[in-house]
Amino acid sequence: MGTQKTINSLQVFLTEVGDISYFAGRFFTDVFKRPFEFKEFLRQCYNMGNRSLLLVGVTGFIIGLVFTLQSRPTLQEFGAVAWMPSMVGISIIREIGPIITALICAGRIGSGIGAELGSMRVTEQIDAMEVSGTNPFKYLVITRILATTFMLPILVIIGDAIALYGSYLVENIKGDVSFQLYFSEVFSSLEFGDVIPSTIKSFFFGFAIGLVGCYKGYNCDKGTEGVGLAANSAVVYTSLLLFVIDFVAVLVADLFYEL
């Protein structure tokens, strides 16, 4: 009984993985085909970037503050407070900034896409679009996946900068460190091996958020329950996928840069 249940769950999981892969394949086939929905792409970029900016900024700022406040006593104990800018800089740029921003966007953008496309599916708006001669996959899905892919790295950079500024404020108040000294310490400790892999993985994070959100919403079951489920599962699946991508990204980066 238990084995059968496990087999069934595995079957469902593998079917889902197969369907998402097919959906991603369709994205790569259709993304180069005309017509290009450039206006809608820009609108989505504006919506996703603009609406997530405040959340990403506030979260980044608080993380910078908290991270520095909590690390300071330990570093002080070992007489290593001078390492604070380097440690915070590397941690935020390499890992904390991208993953936290991606997780916030998975909640904010991924669930939004899932719910929006889901309700469009349920209320036949996607069918209406198809009948009116528009390819809904190109108009709704491709524009959103591209927008998340390109906007997430920008949000990560902004989030990182704000987090570092938050960290600097703590250092300035507690240790009287100047802005110039703090940031020159941060930048001198950073290498290409820190910045490039984290930027590249941000693109993949953005792609995953858009892909899963669109997949869940576009294939939403009928009914309001289906819409809720689409939004919810978009966040859950994306969050899991983000950690998997992060793990793979670290392994690959390690091959090239020997982290």
Partner: protein, 250 residues
């Protein structure tokens, strides 16, 4: 209607249409001819496959087998672009209106216009066409409202205006009066009649509203168990003694 005989006078011909979901056959050899200028009502119980049929007709659902010919073109032989072009000649009024939530009424109406540049060319100012369509449904004042600000009846009228803006030759109505109060339902039926007279369209109306069917139909088909169970004018069907048919008109 003879199975497998294609009627060349019809604007839409369906022959032996079958559609199943797993083992459940929703359509099991459905046939239909729609003639120019005709209002054909298709009645059936909920879940009898009326909406599936209309979606197969316009290519929103793939049918398992059978033939669908629209204005002389077999839809199975058309590629995506050709099907899109054919769709400009067919308006579809969805059951729930299906207005785009994120767009105003004006944008809802402009959306299909800007997509069909082959039929209309590049349109710089769509306002005259938008206003003409809105005036024909009596809602020119709603042009800058959002769908969330409209009542159910208004949404249905705007959706009709959106189908009219492409100047289609055929209009498919999926339950046009469902969910509306009796007065609004009557208004929608009158509007459908005036649209048919003004634009000389041919229409397929899916409904289980007997009053709507009586008011608008030139001919009716009763869809039972996935097949044409009975066919004729409203008056002919009302006179039939078959209990299954009588049940519709109680």
């Amino acid at each position: 209607m003879k199975k497998n005989t294609i009627n060349s006078n019809a604007v839409i011909t369906i022959r032996d249409l079958k559609k199943s979901y797993g083992d459940n056959y929703v359509l099991n050899g459905f046939n239909l001819d729609l003639y120019e200028g005709e209002n054909l009502v298709i009645m059936g119980k909920s879940g009898s496959g009326k909406s599936v049929m209309i979606k197969c007709l316009i290519g929103l659902e793939e049918h398992d087998s059978g033939t669908v010919i629209i204005m002389g073109k077999n839809i199975d032989d058309l590629d995506h672009d050709e099907l899109d072009e054919l769709r400009t000649e067919i308006g579809f009024l969805f059951q729930g209106s299906a207005l785009y939530d994120s767009m105003s009424v004006r944008e809802n109406l402009e959306f299909p216009l800007r997509r069909h540049t082959k039929k209309f060319g590049e349109i710089n100012d769509a306002s005259p066409l938008v206003m003409e369509a809105l005036e024909s449904v009596g809602l020119a004042r709603a042009v800058d409202l959002m769908p969330s600000e409209l009542s159910g009846g208004m949404k249905r009228r705007i959706a009709l205006a959106r189908t009219l803006i492409l100047k289609p030759q055929i209009i498919l109505y999926d339950e046009p009066t469902t969910g509306l109060d009796p007065i609004t339902s009557k208004e929608i039926v009158l509007l459908m009649k005036s649209v048919q007279e003004k634009y000389k369209t041919s229409s397929i109306i899916i409904t289980h509203d007997v009053d709507c069917a009586r008011a608008i139909s030139n001919r009716m088909i009763l869809l039972v168990d996935g097949i044409n169970y009975a066919e004729g004018t409203y008056e002919e069907l009302v006179e039939m003694e078959d209990p299954k048919i009588k049940a519709f008109f109680k």
